[in-house]
């Protein structure tokens, strides 16, 4: 480890960033609950139109990717680079799978003419316009986070291949893992709000 590196300090920095992320999504969750409170019937109708099977599948995918992420960190700490990079690769693969299913879902909705400002959506009630506006904004922002996470994890995989992340120096991988788990956690809340609570 480089003598100028401070693992605890970098982890604290990562956590501070994650806390600001919680407040960012928290603001959107408050917006969601306020509009839901004002338009219960429209939100009920909106949630029934989303594909619950795809939503559940994506939940299982992200949870499993969190598992492979955590296992990858444990195995590099034990010096098993081969297993660790394999698990990291699995995490990246599952992240891509999540995004693929998400974009498929979006494409299906857009094909039905349901997207922000679409004539068909604007013809519906105000509450449904709000529901789909929040759906696209919140799952979109979350998807963007998954995409950023995938870039970061790919960089970590390259560093691991080069041996720059190893049994002694693994703090960058740990911090990337923290970010990945947070993205998973945001989805854990998005899933019931948009797909389950009708």
């Amino acid at each position: 480890m480089n003598e100028h590196e401070n693992d605890t300090g970098s982890k604290m920095g990562m956590w501070l960033f994650l806390l600001s992320e919680i407040l960012l999504f928290g603001g959107l969750f408050i917006l969601y609950s306020t509009y839901r409170y004002k338009n219960p019937a429209d939100f009920h109708h909106g949630a029934e139109e989303l594909n619950r099977i795809l939503g559940t599948g994506n939940t299982l995918i992200l949870i499993t990717s969190s598992l492979t992420m955590a296992l990858s960190i444990s195995s590099i700490q034990k010096g098993n680079r081969k297993l660790s990079s394999l698990l990291l690769f699995a995490t990246i693969f599952l992240g891509f799978l999540f995004l693929a299913i998400k974009s498929f879902e979006w494409a299906a909705k857009i094909q039905h003419g349901i997207y922000p400002n679409s004539p068909r959506l604007l013809g519906r009630s105000k509450g449904e316009v709000l529901f789909y506006g929040l759906y696209y904004a919140m799952t979109g922002l979350h998807g963007l986070h998954v995409l950023v996470g995938l870039v970061v994890l790919t960089a970590m995989l390259i560093l691991m291949m080069k041996g720059r992340i190893n049994a002694v120096r693994f703090a960058p991988l740990e911090n990337s893992g923290l970010y990945w788990h947070l993205v998973d956690m945001v989805w854990i809340f998005l899933f019931p709000l948009f797909y389950l609570i009708t």
Partner: protein, 120 residues
């Protein structure tokens, strides 16, 4: 939870190595290497909770239909925070206090918003 050192025989295909026991050390005793089995159990817990919340969605729970899924989501994120994100194993005031402070901030924010929306 303590982290017992001990071999278990989960993936014997890995050459019989004891990959489950042992504790790595990070910054003194700050972060321990967590056993694979612990993670797999947490993952199973998350899958079961997902199954419960999805099957509850098909039932007519009336007033509980919003509260229960959110409670389950909170339990799931509690598992992720304490095990996957290692908060359970962290020491020091910074790590102990940060989540409660953020949750308190959000709660106050939600409370104030709803007193505004409900009594407007």
């Amino acid at each position: 939870m303590s982290l017992p050192i001990g071999a278990s025989t989960y993936l014997p295909s890995l050459g019989g190595r004891d990959i489950f026991g042992g504790e790595g050390i990070f910054e003194g005793s700050r972060v321990k290497t967590i056993r694979y089995r612990t993670y797999v159990l947490v993952w199973l817990g998350l899958i079961v909770l997902t199954g419960i919340t999805v099957s509850l969605a098909g039932m007519n729970l009336r007033s509980l239909s919003i509260f229960l899924p959110l409670l389950i989501a909170a339990a799931k994120s509690g598992l992720v925070l304490s095990y996957f994100m290692h908060l359970r194993y962290e020491t020091g005031l910074f790590f102990k206090l940060m989540i409660p402070i953020v949750l308190a901030t959000l709660t106050i924010f939600i409370g104030l918003t709803f007193t505004d929306v409900a009594f407007r």
